[in-house]
Each structure stands twice: as C-alpha cells, then as structure tokens.
Symmetry: C2
Subunit: 190 residues, 2 copies
DNA sequence: GCCACAATAGTACGGTCGTTCTATTCGCGC
DNA sequence: GCGCGAATAGAACGACCGTACTATTGTGGC
C-alpha cells in the first residue's frame, strides 16, 4: 500500500504543473503518462476516470496551497503581520497560486464537482484573508470601521492583477505595483 | 462576397460565446458546426486551420470589446467621468469582458500568436484606463501626484476580483464590493 | 438567364482521446 | 522464499479530433 500512493503523488505533482499551462480539460492521460514514462493504462488505474483525475488534481493543489501558503502564514503573529504574510506568500509562491487563477477562469462557467472544489478553495482563501483582517482590526492594527471582507476582496484583486500583468503581459513592474497597491490598502485602513 | 462574411460573423459570435465556457482550446470545429447547423467542412473552409479560427475568435472578441466598451466610454466627457464610464461598461457588459479574463488565464503560459493577440488587447485596455486617468489628473479631477498606470492597475484588479467573486463563487455582493472599491480608489486620488 | 466563382456539403483518413479487458510484474506478510 | 494481492503494462475498442480532397449548391455581374 506504499508504492501506489507514492506514484500517485508523483502523477498529481506533474499533472498540477501541466494543468497550469494546458488547463484541466487540456490535461490528457496519454501525454501525462508519456511525460512520466508510465503506461496509459497503468496511470489510468490510479483514478478510474478522467473526471476523478481532475478532481484529484484540484485537491492535491489545494493541499499544497494550504500547507505552503496558508499554514505558514498562520504562524506569523496576529494582526497586520499575518495578513501581510498571507499576501506575500501568495505572491512569492507562484507555483500553485497560479494554478488556482487558471482553474478559476477555466471552470467558472462549468458547473460540476470540479468547479465546486475550486470554488471552495478560493472561498477558503478569501475567508483566511478576511479572518486575518478581522484579527488585525481587533488587535487595533487597523481602524475599527474596516470591513474585513471588503479588504480581503480588494487585496485579492491586487493579487489577480499582479498575476495577469506578470504572467500574460510579462511586465516586471507588476510586483512593485502590487506592493504599492497593498501598502496603500493597508495604510488606508490603518 | 457578402454571404460568406455574414456566416463568418455568425460563426465567430457563437464561437466567442462557446469559448467563454470551454476555452479556446476546448473549442471544437465539429461541435461548433453542429451548434450552427453547418457542415464541419463548410465551417472549416472559412478559416483553413484551427489556429486561424482561434485567432479570428480573439480578434472578433477584441473588436466587440472595443466597440461596446471602450469606444462608447470615450464619448463621455474627459476626466473622472470617462474613467468611471470605462469601468462601468466593463462590469455591466459581462459578455465579452469575461471572455478576455478566460483567455488571459488560459493563454498566459502558452506563447504563440494567440497569446500575443490577447496580451495586446489587455495591454490596450489598461492603456485606455491609464490614459483616462492621466486626463483626469490633467483636468484637475485627480491629485497631481496620482500615478495613472498605478491607478489603472488597481482598478483592473478590482474588476478581476469582481469577475471571480461573481462568476465562480456566485456571490451577489460582488458588484457592491467592486463599486465600493472603485469609489475608494477614486476618492483617495481625488 | 447564364456563368464563373464563392460558399457549403460529403466523405475519408490518420491520430489521439477515454476506457475496458487481460496479462504481467512487483512487493510484502507469513 | 512463497504466494497473493497490489501495481503496472499491453492491446484493442469506438468516438471524435483536425484536415484534405471532391462534389454540389447558391449567387451576383453581365
């Protein structure tokens, strides 16, 4: 019961990376198998259907996202530092944050379990931002009349713009712009 | 030389709508043909290759985007009103603004002419925002130390967050949040 | 009204897709 | 170290993909 899980993880890692460029629907069992030097049927047996593979990819990416972005940031001290840590980790760690931007856009008009899984992840992410913002208010780091959910919304918007400007337009100034925007949002609420 | 162009437009209209849900790569000549009650080969003859069809779709969507969002907004009086008109029209007219969010995410990691066409459109869009912002500064509607490109970046971020929250999460509060965010950005710069 | 040519349909092909079934190899408990 | 089940491979399937070729239909200029 060991070997199977190991290759399964290997498959999902590669699939996640691949999905970032070809999308979830563009993912192909044949390509994925040859990329990993596995047989198509051997790979297929791990999941049983393409839809199951897709959902496994989403959940795998979610797990990595939680353990590499959210969890570490939650160890930072309460209030504004933690809020900043969330944003910083999202921006630095393109790897899997990116795949969720891709998945959000790909699935937002395609109801089904895959879309639900992505939506749940994004919802959790915005909740994490909002909760951190609320704590910052409670700690007195941010003004009492700050709406935590509104702030989370605006912060996430900056991250999305950063993603588009950086990835699609290839503008190196994106990071600096994002930083300025984040600073302005937090300064305004301080 | 008339009939051909008419069906070509019909094809591209439907293709654009379809691409919003299945993506540009998910677009299929067979499905598109049956959806329009055309023969596969008859449709194919209009474009000659799938890549040509994809680029035609992008350019068609860009034309509609320009004529339905940008051009009307440019008729609004210079300064902040025009800037607001750009943002408002983007948000109201989901139809084709959405397809560019989809295309941005789908193509941002896939170099080629399709990606270039999308990138050029987004660049033009952000330039339109920045130019309108600059005019607003010149007119005295916004503070002299406002960075027009930075403001365009932040405005676009709000639109992207609005798109994600509304489409993927189905949160009806997205529009109100976006409006508040836009108001705050403009108030801060006024 | 005819005719040249644009526009569309029909058919076929090689390739790849997801999936199934059967066979082979591997790894671990006894 | 043997045996059994888990893990992987192999071959085959029908379906649909993009594309090429040929045939048919429609249509605007004379």
């Amino acid at each position: 019961m060991k070997k199977g899980d190991a290759t399964r993880t290997t498959i999902l890692d590669r699939a996640t990376t691949l999905a970032r460029t070809v999308g979830l629907e563009g993912l192909t069992i044949g390509q994925l198998a040859t990329a990993l030097e596995l047989s198509k049927s051997g790979l297929f047996a791990h999941f049983g259907s393409k839809e199951a593979l897709q959902i496994a990819v989403i959940e795998h990416a979610r797990d990595r996202f939680v353990s590499e972005v959210i969890a570490p940031a939650l160890k930072v001290s309460r209030g504004t530092p933690r809020l900043r840590a969330l944003v910083d980790r999202w921006m630095k760690w393109g790897e899997d944050a990116c795949v969720f931007v891709q998945l959000s856009a790909e699935l937002d008009d395609r109801p089904g379990p895959a879309r639900d899984a992505v939506a749940a992840t994004i919802r959790d992410w915005m909740d994490a931002l909002a909760t951190a913002a609320k704590i910052a208010v409670d700690e007195g780091h941010l003004r009492a009349d700050t709406d935590p959910k509104q702030l989370a919304f605006e912060l996430y918007g900056v991250m999305l713009a950063y993603h588009t400007v950086g990835r699609l337009l290839g503008d190196p100034k994106g990071a600096a712009r994002a930083r300025r925007a984040i600073d302005a949002l937090l300064a305004r609420a301080a």
